[in-house]
Amino acid sequence: MEPTSMTSEGSARRAFLGRTAAGIGGIALAAMLGEDNSSAVEPSPSPRRTTRGLHFAPKAKRIIFILQAGGVSQFETFDHKPKLTELHGQPMPESLTNGQRLAQIRGKKLIVCGSPYKFKKYGQSGAELSELMPFTGTIADDICIVRTATTEAINHDPAVTFMQCGNQQPGRPTMGAWLSYGLASENRDLPSFVVLASGMNQGQNLHTRYWGSGFLPSEHQGVRFRSGKDPVFFVSNPQGVSRAARRRVLDGIRALNQLKHEEVGDPAITARIAAYEMAYRMQRSVPELTDISDEPQHVLDMYGPEVSQPGSAARCCLLARRLAERDVRFIQLYHRGWDQHGNLPNDLQRQCRQTDQPSAALVKDLKRRGLLDDTLVIWGTEFGRTPMLQGQYKPKSYGRDHHMLCFSMWMAGGGIKPGITIGESDEFGYQPLNHPVHIHDLHATWLHLLGIDHEKLTYRFQGRDFRLTDVQGKLLKDVMA
């Protein structure tokens, strides 16, 4: 790659000394994150990249995936089960639970547990939601609710890993990594896979593996944006180093690297020169992204009062919109704290208070900017919770265990049919009655909406051609517009 319009060394110096730091020169960059093409590295077998979709025309250009980590109870949110209230306190029918996997209530008496929360129909679609989700009610006609999602893992770590990688074992790439690998980044100044996390101090670990690249080259791993002064690790200059001083140092590095390249001819040096320029641009683009002072009050108000707190779900949702505006390919949000083995009413109310309004605001905000059409928004969780009680029942404190056979989530925008609810669970909410939606099917469908045939996006590792959906996955035609 030939640096095309780079300023000469002399003019860069003048610019520096004049403290204008302008005219850095538009080095034509192949991509933000390049592979090392130095000796002894195979050329990346990437299915090179087109914005027109890899295999066919995409409906969506990007994904925002909000993973509510810990296992959201469907019975207090999306899946209204009067039968549970009716049989509340009675033993669970053994015909349902026999031979099924249980987590913490294994070996305990299995008691039916009804939800004390009221449900109500929203919008023209008449989607039924609990009183804990009033804001989600206001977007009922924009979203597609799935009440029959099903997974294969009963513990958090493997279940989140399964949701992200299509496999419970560590070592596979996450969905965001697959997309980074399969599709071009459309932004020269930001990574193609960004991760935001909220709900600190609420529940299980987040592992970097949850946004890892597995066996794909590690340039495809997600870049986590943090809430502090360094939204991306090491993005700020050290104390006392101005942007102009940094520019001068970078010009020096570049000039010396170029000399080296002339001498040894290794293309990795050119790639490194480009990477350093990218880093410099990121130092501007990242703070610009995370600085929300240009957001008008009425927009901030949409996301709710917590938007003023960095690291809140509200702030993350707002940042997700800003990332979507900047064409970041895969925006992963985590909100922790949904693991209500006990103390469910209090904790769940907290969780809903933290996420309900911002999630709804995100959809509305994208919609009014015309971004919802090509942004696929996913609101999901790694598994649901049992219709059976865990612990003692008191209206203000009871719990539910992990449940993998049937749970709820929703999707919106980017080629998703709005205003529908897919799937019914049985009257105990234990298993899908119809439309079982496996994680592999969701993956296949999401990739499809981005113009990717999930069977064709593969990577050869240890002699096998791996893919996100393993050997499964069927398109969910019902959810696609």
Binding site: E42, P45, E152, H156, G228, F234, A279
Partner: protein, 795 residues
């Protein structure tokens, strides 16, 4: 796990057209072969069959269509697919060329098709008699004859004979030898993980004897840094870490194992012995503590303590991890898929997977204990604890001898001695109590039955199996300590794989890529070796040398092949972009640990101390708190010398690695990593420019430049370059650096307050009397140098 995912398996969706691999294969073939020569089954035919046919007509009985096996000559002939020597009568030839898409193979629905070249090869192969031969990697290597070569003068040892013969066949010439400083730098990085010191460079350049380079290499092998360097590589394979991995990722204390690895490489422990200790150190008769420590290899895997997790499910997971790791490290085989079903391309059955599993599923005790409490474990002293104990024991023995002796002295003296001894014994107990508890391997006293697990599901037991090995490999002797016998079987010279796989991995460590470029796949879908005879020669040499690691590495680094310059012109780059033919030396970016160590070394901060608990250097504030819960939230950063120790001692928390490490491609070690990625990203720049470790290094390096680099700017520039890059800057480079200094000096003169901030990075004490403005300006120069591609590259 793959278990339930196999339920809806069909061939079509399992094997989509491989856009990716075709690319890799064609590049390989163009460099590999001449189309006019005879077709060779292993090289030319098996890859086609494995890629396009075996999924339905291969080893997996469950997926087999039309009872046809193309991996079995007799069956293929019987069914009529192949008529040796008669292409007209061979249905295979008809079907691959059939005009009717319905009849043509592979079926259109698989979205795969044979190229003209592939069809031609298959046809030619049948015409020539359709001979099959065993996949090369499953036949034990024999020492090949050295090829005859012209210009043999270039060769330093047999490695070069193979490389040169190949180059000559390709019409290429080797590159000239790298200059002395580059060569010294390359070898020092490769063998110690650090750059040479300026004094070492001076000595090497002054030594004009023919053995000068060999002397350097021997010195490097003798350095204790060698073990640290080798351990860094081995610990990826051993998935060594300081935390549990799954769920809450609790802290554990496996570092005595890490120290054992360092020690083993430093003592040049023969690799067969090392292997026995890894796989079954606990079962060696009268096992020493050292050998038992080695067995921690298979207790390094990730474990869970999640409430509600099923202990049996995890017992199975751990044993699966041991099988996969053993297969990757010693056999170069990808057995993962056989956990759920027979292998699609290689001759391995699901039953064989569980026979291997049966060696590793015997560990007794609760599988869901966390951290230090996971049984079975053993208290193992650290080096300093062992030293203290030795001192105490010595004194205790002396006292006891005195007391027992005939001239025991006065009663009062005796009493004093007895008191002293009691106190020493107390101290001893305190130290012993503080021993880290190392997880070790152990088998339950009574054999736990092993079953084939249907689709890998721990709840679905099939037939019972006994420990055993894949039938394609040499037979396994019956034994009373099965795991120990497995270890011996692994290093039996008749076993075709372990020596080749090991040699290949060391080669990859040095050259950046193996002779087989898929170091974890020597099966039929793995890459064809770039120099097969060389690989076999090295494997046999390795075995016959008594699995002597230093001998092997010495052969490699003293070869002329290794000593070539890594500079590449446009023609060669185009012809051989990834250096498969080895017409030049290796040039690639250092791994994460070495990037760190190099900066510490150059700045003079590196604190060299072998072993002990893992270090917690700088990392972004609040990182663990944000992502962990419970006790895992608290990161207590070290201070003083521990901040400056080598990267191999970094605390390896699997869920959140130190970001500078993950950014430079260090793996999380949640599973066995045979080959790290090597990326080149903008985030690298941010680490090297802004992470306090590197900012501090630049600041302290600048102090050295000022205090030790002479008085003139020119002298200092030369000093700085020499120290960081082991060479003098060219005129142009010198001018650029001097300019940077001038500009930055002017800048910080105008911003003296900024200068004061710049020179306070990190905890390293400041040198008194250094002018902050000058210091800040030199810090900028130091940063430029520490960020150069050349600085973080072995070239």
């Amino acid at each position: 796990m793959l278990n339930a995912s196999q339920r809806r398996f069909t061939f079509f969706i399992s094997l989509p057209l491989i856009v990716l691999s075709t690319f890799a294969t064609t590049t390989m073939l163009s460099a590999e072969q001449n189309p006019t020569v005879d077709v060779d089954f292993n090289r030319d035919i098996r890859p086609i069959l494995a890629q396009h046919c075996y999924a339905c007509h291969g080893p997996d009985a469950k997926q087999r269509k039309a009872d046809l096996r193309l991996d079995d000559r007799a069956v293929a002939i019987k069914v009529g697919a192949i008529q040796p020597g008669d292409t007209g009568a061979s249905e295979l030839v008809q079907r691959i060329n059939h005009e009717d898409p319905e009849e043509r193979m592979p079926p259109a629905s698989t979205e795969r098709s044979l190229s003209v070249d592939e069809k031609q090869k298959l046809t030619q192969w049948i015409a020539q008699g359709a001979t099959y031969s065993q996949h090369w990697a499953f036949v034990a290597p024999k020492r090949p004859q050295l090829p005859r070569q012209r210009k043999a003068k270039w060769s330093s040892n047999p490695i070069d004979a193979f490389v040169l013969a190949r180059l000559q066949r390709e019409g290429l010439k080797p590159s000239p030898e790298a200059d002395r400083s580059t060569l010294l730098r390359r070898a020092t990085f490769d063998l110690t993980g650090l750059p040479p010191s300026p004094a070492e460079l001076v000595a090497f350049q002054a030594d004009r004897s023919p053995q000068a380079y060999e002397k350097v290499v021997d010195r490097l092998f003798a350095s204790p840094r060698f073990g640290e360097r080798m351990a860094q590589h081995w610990l990826d394979l051993a998935r060594y870490a300081d935390s549990d991995g799954y769920h809450d990722d609790t802290k554990r204390a496996m570092w005595p194992y890490r120290d054992y690895v360092i020690r083993s490489f430093n003592r040049n422990k023969p690799f067969d012995q090392f292997t026995r200790e890894q796989i079954a150190g606990d079962q060696i008769p009268n096992a020493t503590l050292e050998q038992i420590t080695g067995s921690a290899f298979h207790r390094n895997g990730p474990t869970s303590s999640e409430g509600g997790a099923n202990p049996e499910e995890y017992r199975v997971k751990y044993a699966v991890d041991r099988v996969n790791t053993t297969a990757s490290v010693w056999l170069g085989l990808t057995l993962q898929c056989t956990e759920c079903h027979d292998h699609k391309y290689d001759p391995f059955t699901q039953k064989e997977f569980y026979q291997l599993f049966a060696f590793f599923d015997q560990v007794p005790g609760n599988t869901l204990h966390r951290g230090f409490f996971a049984p079975p474990s053993k208290p193992v002293p650290s080096l300093s604890q062992a030293n203290k104990l030795a001192k105490l024991d010595h004194r205790i023995t002396t006292i006891t001898a005195q007391l027992d002796g005939s001239n025991a002295g006065l009663e009062s003296e005796q009493k004093k001695l007895i008191q002293e001894r009691a106190s020493l014994q107390k101290q001893r107990k305190v130290i012993e109590k503080a021993f880290p508890r190392l997880r070790i391997m152990q088998d339950a006293p009574k054999r736990i039955p092993t079953y084939i697990l249907v689709r890998g599901d721990f709840r679905r037991r099939g037939g019972q199996v006994q420990p055993g090995v894949p039938a394609i490999l040499p037979p396994f002797p019956t034994a009373t300590s099965p795991r120990l016998a497995l270890a011996s079987w692994l290093v039996d010279p008749k076993n075709p794989l372990p020596a080749r796989v090991t040699v290949n991995r060391f080669w990859a460590m040095i050259f950046g890529a193996g002779i087989v470029r898929t170091p974890n796949d020597f099966g039929s879908r793995g890459d064809w070796p770039t120099h097969q005879e060389l690989l076999d020669w090295l494997a046999v040499e390795f075995i016959e040398s008594g699995w002597d690691v230093k001998h092997l590495l010495k052969l490699i680094v003293t070869s002329s092949t290794y000593r070539q310059s890594s500079a590449v012109g446009p023609d060669l780059l185009k012809r051989d972009p990834t250096n498969r033919l080895l017409a030049r030396g290796p040039r690639f970016r250092l791994p994460a640990e070495m990037v760190r160590d190099n900066a510490l070394f150059v700045s003079g901060m590196l604190h060299e101390e072998i072993g002990g608990r893992s270090i917690k250097p700088y990392q972004p504030a609040g990182l663990w708190r944000e992502m962990s819960y419970g006790q895992g939230k608290k990161y207590v950063q070290d201070h003083g010398p521990s901040l400056y120790r080598r990267g191999v001692y970094m605390f390896w928390k699997r869920s959140i690695l130190n970001p500078s490490y993950s950014i430079f491609d260090a793996p999380t070690r949640e599973d066995c990593e045979v080959q790290r990625s090597r990326t080149n990203t903008a985030l690298h720049a941010l680490v090297l420019l802004n992470d306090v470790t590197f900012v501090e290094a630049a600041r302290v390096f600048a102090e050295r430049i000022i205090t030790q680099g002479g008085r003139l700017t020119d002298e200092r520039v030369d000093y700085a370059y020499g120290r960081a890059l082991s060479r003098r800057p060219s005129k142009k480079e010198h001018a650029l650096l001097a300019d940077i200094f001038k500009d930055m000096l002017e800048h910080y003169r105008k911003h003296p307050d900024a200068a004061k901030q710049v020179v306070t990075a990190g905890e390293w004490p400041a040198t008194k009397g250094v002018d902050p403005v000058e210091h800040a300006a030199w810090t900028s120069v130091a940063q430029v140098i520490l960020n150069l591609d050349e600085t973080i590259t072995k070239e």
